[in-house]
Symmetry: C2
Subunit: 155 residues, 2 copies
DNA sequence: ATAATTGCAAACGCTTTGCAACCCC
DNA sequence: GGGGTTGCAAAGCGTTTGCAATTAT
């Protein structure tokens, strides 16, 4: 129950900016409004179009520069839509597993927990989906990184 | 219990290639070997370095062209490491939720299931992690796409 | 022999950044 | 008026692709 959480999101945003001596410009305001109006998930391009549709010229560069501010102030969050690709792992003959990842040093621990699979199956069925695959990653800080202070930066 | 599953991975790969009238070249063989030797997760660059370290000149382009073949033949899988960014959603005042995504039409359904959170917490503790966030996406085919045949391609 | 494979370099799409003009505070 | 903000265009980065030479079958 923080003080700003029940306020108008724009106030939250302005406070966040002020705390860093940054400015609330009309363009940024339009970006915030547009972002909050988005029904569900949106890409940078979709947000850009939405801002422009609201009558504000804006360059993609400005959107890109504003996004971190919206994220920091908690108005939006990165959806982490599963990005198939970029990383791989050998799977020949291996059991399925999910990942526990340390944000500090990048360590990846594999874990298996059948209970998850069953619950996932139930949810898929509930919505009439045929389940093909899933992404399940737990992101945290491992014991060494928690005590050791700053990140080690590996992977 | 398919016929090839217990064979040597290279045989699986060769079979897969042959089925499509593709060729097993020394370079591809080296790529397969290197991929299977990788301890855990690897990027395209890491794989390229590994192949080169094994004594084979190879261009990144060739690696990129070979990866789909390894994926199709089931020797490796895309890890889908959470790619923070690219997609966002408004989070101001919203409850946490996870996503059920249709591979056919891109529909995203949000779901909440407390049981997951508790299990995740348990796993994190088991490995001494402080849990910061998680990514949990179920990927499947929605009812319309299952019956309607081919994808609709939306989002 | 013939069609697949390869490396190179150019093209691509998305994101970041340097810079000069601009404008909020 | 000073320092943050913006747009533009250029640069980056990872991935894809056209092409001519090469090679597996």
């Amino acid at each position: 129950m923080t003080s700003t959480n029940n306020q108008d999101p724009l106030a939250v945003f302005r406070d966040h900016l002020r705390r860093q001596q940054l400015r609330l410009t009309p363009v940024r305001e339009a970006i915030v409004r547009a972002a909050l109006c988005q029904a569900g998930h949106f890409s940078v391009d979709e947000l850009t179009r939405a801002v422009r549709a609201s009558g504000h010229e804006v360059s993609r560069a400005t959107i890109y520069r504003a996004l971190p501010l919206l994220l920091e102030s908690g108005l939006i969050q990165a959806t982490e839509v599963s990005k198939d690709g970029s990383y791989f792992e050998a799977s020949f003959g291996r059991e399925h597993h999910d990942h526990l990842i340390c944000r500090g040093c990048g360590t990846v621990i594999e874990f298996q927990f059948e209970a998850f699979q069953m619950l996932e199956q139930q949810i898929a069925e509930k919505y009439g989906f045929e389940l093909l695959s899933h992404v399940h990653e737990l992101i945290g800080r491992c014991a060494p990184c928690r005590s050791g202070g700053d990140a080690h930066e590996v992977h």
